[in-house]
Structures are given as structure tokens and as C-alpha cells.
């Protein structure tokens, strides 16, 4: 088992390296100084809210073209971590670098190259889908905006309700619109916080398939916070598990499951959440 873990870890590192090299070879226009850098570098990041340590000294590096799942229970620090990566929350200490630029100091250099989707924000309800996408397209200086909106509408199946007010859409339709907004600028880096929360299984599966396709076609980097373990198993080539603001584990889904001697990430999640980490690891070692 230990050998299997070592093999998986080595395989993940190999994949990560290969993804970084793919990214280097990519023909996408990037800023010259940031081409060689990772998509996200988080170094000893801390966030204190009064006496609460929401994030407690975490570090990780995401290579370009990778898709990583950020797991953890409620209050584990996932959303705060993503918010610090986006520059919405200032770290108490530590450093975040995105696409080769320090956040939030150099955010102007990268905000146009990234995008996000989160349940904590909405698209304006009284505007139609087309109006919303037009405005965000202009904010992101998207060239040939009408063509881009038409392409997104086709890809994400928005045409039936593209001229309807956002407030009159179903939850599934709203999620697809939010995803269209997140993809309007063809971001190199996509941050997703619970992208399939409150979706029926069919729509959720459809969204996952689209994300997989987008990553493959664009060599994009995706960081995904989710409570849906099946989603993470299916999409992610790496998983970071957080608990009480710290990184509890960080590896490929297979390696993590092997380490905990479990067959699903859901079981691993329960082990971590219920403090059975050491026991499970000891079981795995035996």
C-alpha cells in the first residue's frame, strides 16, 4: 500500500510537471514574465478574524493546466482561501501569487485573465441574460463580444432564455448563466466555489462535463471548492483537504484514498471531519 501511495504521488508530480510544460508550450498569449510561473502560489497564508484563525499558515502551488479540488467541512477556510486568491480578502500574513503576479497589489495585471463563480454573488436579477453577458464582456474587454456570447449561448444551451430576466430563471439555468459569465473572457484561471450546489444531478453532470471540456480545450487552471466528493473525484487531478484553516492532506484523489484505506473521497472526508485521520492512516500503513 505504501508503495502504491508513493507511486501515486510520483505520478501526480509527473502529471503536474507535464501540465506545466504543456502550459509553457501553449500558444495562448501570456505575459512573458509570468509564462514560467505557476498558476497559483500560496505561501504561509494566514487570515485572522479577531481571535479566529480562518486560515492558518497554508502553502500550496498549482501548476498551469491543473484542476484541483479544495475540500473541507463548513468553516474549514476554503472560501476565505479562494477570496484571498481573488484579492477580495486581505491576508493577515503570507503571500499569494496568481499567474506570476502578487495579489492584491498587482491584481490589475491578472484580473482580466481570471474569473470566478460563487454562490456568494449573483448576476443582476432584473437584467436579461444577454444584457448581463454584454456588460461583463465589456468589463473584460472581450473582442467580438456578440460572437463570444453566441458561442457561450450555444455551448451552455442558453438560447431558449437568453432574452429573459435573470431573476426569472430556474436554479439550473442561473448556474449556467453564472458559468457563462465566468467563461466570458476565456480565463486562464477559473476559481469555482460550489459550482454545482443546488443543482439536480443531470444539470450538475452537464456542468462538470463542460468544465472538463473547457480545461482540455484551453489548458486552463481550475481551482474548485466543493462538498460534492463525486464531483471532485471525477474532475480533479489533485485534492487539497482543509480542516480548521490548515491543509490536512494534499495529493491525487487515488493517493489520498489509498492513504486512508478508503474507496471513496466521501469516506476520506468523513474520516478527516470526525478526526479519524491518524487511525485511518495507521490502518492503511498496516
Amino acid at each position: 500500500m505504501a508503495l502504491q501511495v508513493l507511486h501515486s504521488t510520483a505520478q501526480w508530480r509527473k502529471n503536474a510537471l507535464s501540465m506545466t510544460e504543456n502550459s509553457k508550450a501553449s500558444s495562448r498569449p501570456t505575459v512573458a514574465d509570468s509564462t514560467l510561473s505557476a498558476a497559483i502560489e500560496v505561501d504561509r497564508l494566514v487570515k485572522l478574524y479577531k481571535q479566529t484563525r480562518a486560515v492558518d499558515g497554508i502553502s500550496f502551488t498549482l501548476p498551469r493546466g491543473s484542476i484541483t479540488g479544495l475540500l473541507g467541512g463548513n468553516g474549514a477556510g476554503k472560501t476565505t482561501t479562494i477570496a484571498m486568491i481573488m484579492g477580495l480578502v486581505l491576508p493577515t500574513s503570507g503571500r499569494v501569487q496568481v499567474l506570476g503576479h502578487r495579489m492584491p497589489e498587482e491584481s490589475a495585471a491578472v484580473l482580466g485573465r481570471m474569473n470566478f463563480e460563487s454562490p456568494y454573488v449573483d448576476m443582476p436579477m432584473r437584467l436579461t441574460v444577454r444584457q448581463n453577458l454584454t456588460i461583463f464582456g465589456k468589463l473584460y474587454a472581450v473582442k467580438n463580444l456578440a460572437d463570444r456570447i453566441a458561442k457561450l449561448a450555444e455551448d451552455l444551451d442558453l438560447n431558449d432564455f437568453i432574452d429573459r430576466a435573470n431573476g426569472k430563471l430556474s436554479a439550473g439555468q442561473k448556474t449556467r448563466v453564472a458559468l457563462a459569465k465566468a467563461l466570458i473572457n476565456e480565463p486562464e484561471l477559473l476559481l469555482l466555489d460550489e459550482p454545482t450546489a443546488s443543482l439536480d444531478p443531470d444539470t450538475a453532470d452537464w456542468v462538470r462535463a463542460h468544465l472538463e471540456r473547457y480545461r482540455k480545450d484551453n489548458n486552463a487552471t481550475i481551482l474548485l471548492a466543493s462538498h460534492n466528493m463525486l464531483e471532485v473525484e471525477r474532475l480533479c487531478d489533485r485534492v487539497i483537504i482543509m480542516k480548521r484553516g490548515r491543509v490536512e492532506d494534499d495529493d491525487t484523489p487515488d493517493a489520498i484514498m489509498a492513504r486512508y484505506n478508503r474507496t471513496t473521497l466521501e469516506e476520506v472526508f468523513l474520516d478527516v471531519a470526525r478526526g479519524r485521520t491518524n487511525g485511518a492512516r495507521e490502518d492503511a500503513a498496516r
Binding site: A83, M123, L127, K138, A141
Partner: protein, 272 residues
């Protein structure tokens, strides 16, 4: 939104996109559009008839024709200018859209410039019909003030933007729990700005406070123009100087409050 790039690389396209967003919003709701016309119209009719009544019974007001109606119109420029700015900002809070904007390449200065443009558009929708009503019902033509009207307007709109920027920063930092400040702060200025009476009416010590507010200079200037037919350039220049300080201070306060909101995680919370 990058706080550090306040001045560099201002994008007209991004400002245009935000104005387009607010325009779509305005046009999507006829009750909100009607509301822009309703209150100014109600104001001018009520105060206009009061002016007529007083003028019939008091010699001074008969001579000082239009001071009350003029004051109502200028006060509405000040008040509606700030509301026009702040309501567009609140629309982002109500829609929980601020996170989308903060994560986009939109800069704070572009956001504020688009809110200023919207305050002018909303003001035009509300105040132009109001001035036409004043002409039709009370034979008071505010446009006959000529060039001084431009000086009055600029000084009032600059003050309204300063207040709008500052209260928007407060709401950004403290969430919608601070929304009531948007609706009430300007009324705190009202008694001190001496809209309907001269500064000399105030006790000596309060006059110092009154003269620290740019609108006081405008209303004094308006009375000088209507009663004595004198345009007080000195008052307008003093008001402009104070406005320059207020605008700079409000920009600084907005950025400080935005930074504080990032520090305390208020941008994620959004609500109360």
C-alpha cells in the same frame, strides 16, 4: 478592483459598460423611473404654492420672488444628485453583484466615475421636468439665472458626489445595515446649509460650521442673485475650493473603507 491603480489606465469602455448596466436597470422598472419624477414634482408644487401664498402676504417675499422655489430646485439638485449616485451603488449591494465587479478589471475610480455619470442622468430625469413645472405653474424660470446657474449646479453636484462617495464607502465596509445613512445624511446638512434662510439667522458659533459647507455658499449666492441681482463670484470660488478638498477626502475615505472591507471580509458578506 485594484486599489493601487487609482489613476492609471482609466478605461472609457469599462465606465461605459457600467453606465449601460445602470441604464438597463432604470429602463427595466417603470415604477423606479416614475419615482424619479414623482418626488421632485411633488416638492415644487407644494413649495411653489407656499411661495405664492407668502408673496401675497409679505412685502419682502413679494420683492424676493422665486427665492423659495429656487431654493427647492437647488436643494433637489444637491439631494437627488447624492441619491442618484448612492442608489446606483446600492443596486450592486441589493443584487449581490459587488463580488463580480470587484473580481473584474473594473477599477474603483472607474466605478465611481460611472456612478457620477448615473447621478447626472437620474438628476436630469427628475429635475428637468421639475423646472418645467416651475415655469408652467409659478412663472419661475431657473434657466433665466444664466451662467450663475452653472456655477450653482457644479458646486452642488460636487458636494453631492462627495457625500455619495463617502456613504457608499460606509455601506461597502459595514454592509446593508448602514443603508439608512444613504437616505438620511444629506438631511443633517439641510439646517446648516441655510437653504431657506440666510446664514445670519444662525447663532454666531454655528455660522462657522455653516460656512464650512459648500451648499451654504450656493444658497447665499442664489439669494444675492434673486434679491440684489448680484452674482457673488467670491462665494462660488470659496465653495469650489471646499468642494475640491471634500472630493479628495471622500476618494481617500472610499479607498480606506474598501481596504478595511477587504481586511474584515465584508465584501464576501454583503448583507447586514
Amino acid at each position: 478592483m485594484s486599489e493601487l491603480s487609482l489613476h492609471r489606465g482609466i478605461s472609457v469602455q469599462r465606465i461605459g459598460a457600467m453606465i449601460l448596466r445602470y441604464w438597463y436597470l432604470l429602463m427595466s422598472s417603470w415604477p423606479r423611473l416614475l419615482e424619479l419624477l414623482y418626488w421632485p414634482a411633488l416638492q415644487i408644487i407644494t413649495w411653489g404654492f407656499l411661495q405664492l401664498y407668502i408673496a401675497q402676504n409679505a412685502n419682502f417675499f413679494a420683492r424676493a420672488g422665486g427665492t423659495l422655489i429656487g431654493a427647492v430646485i437647488l436643494w433637489d439638485i444637491l439631494f437627488r444628485g447624492q441619491l442618484g449616485f448612492s442608489i446606483s451603488f446600492l443596486e450592486e449591494m441589493w443584487a449581490r453583484n459587488l463580488g463580480n465587479l470587484m473580481m473584474s478589471p473594473l477599477k474603483p475610480i472607474e466605478f465611481l466615475l460611472s456612478l457620477m455619470a448615473m447621478s447626472l442622468i437620474r438628476l436630469a430625469i427628475g429635475v428637468i421636468p421639475m423646472t418645467l413645472l416651475a415655469i408652467a405653474f409659478f412663472h419661475f424660470n431657473v434657466y433665466s439665472l444664466g451662467l450663475p446657474l452653472i456655477a450653482f449646479f457644479c458646486n452642488l453636484i460636487f458636494t453631492s458626489w462627495s457625500v455619495g462617495i463617502f456613504v457608499s464607502g460606509l455601506v461597502l465596509r459595514n454592509g446593508l445595515g448602514a443603508e439608512s445613512i444613504v437616505w438620511t445624511l444629506m438631511f443633517a446638512i439641510m439646517p446648516l446649509a441655510c437653504i431657506y434662510y440666510p446664514v445670519s439667522v444662525l447663532p454666531g458659533w454655528l455660522q462657522y460650521v455653516a460656512w464650512s459647507l459648500p451648499p451654504t455658499y450656493v444658497f447665499e449666492g442664489m439669494r444675492a442673485l434673486l434679491i440684489e441681482q448680484t452674482f457673488r463670484t467670491d462665494l462660488m470660488l470659496d465653495a469650489l475650493a471646499i468642494n475640491a478638498v471634500l472630493l479628495a477626502a471622500s476618494f481617500w475615505a472610499f479607498l480606506a473603507l474598501l481596504r478595511s472591507a477587504r481586511k474584515h471580509g465584508s465584501l464576501l458578506a454583503g448583507g447586514e
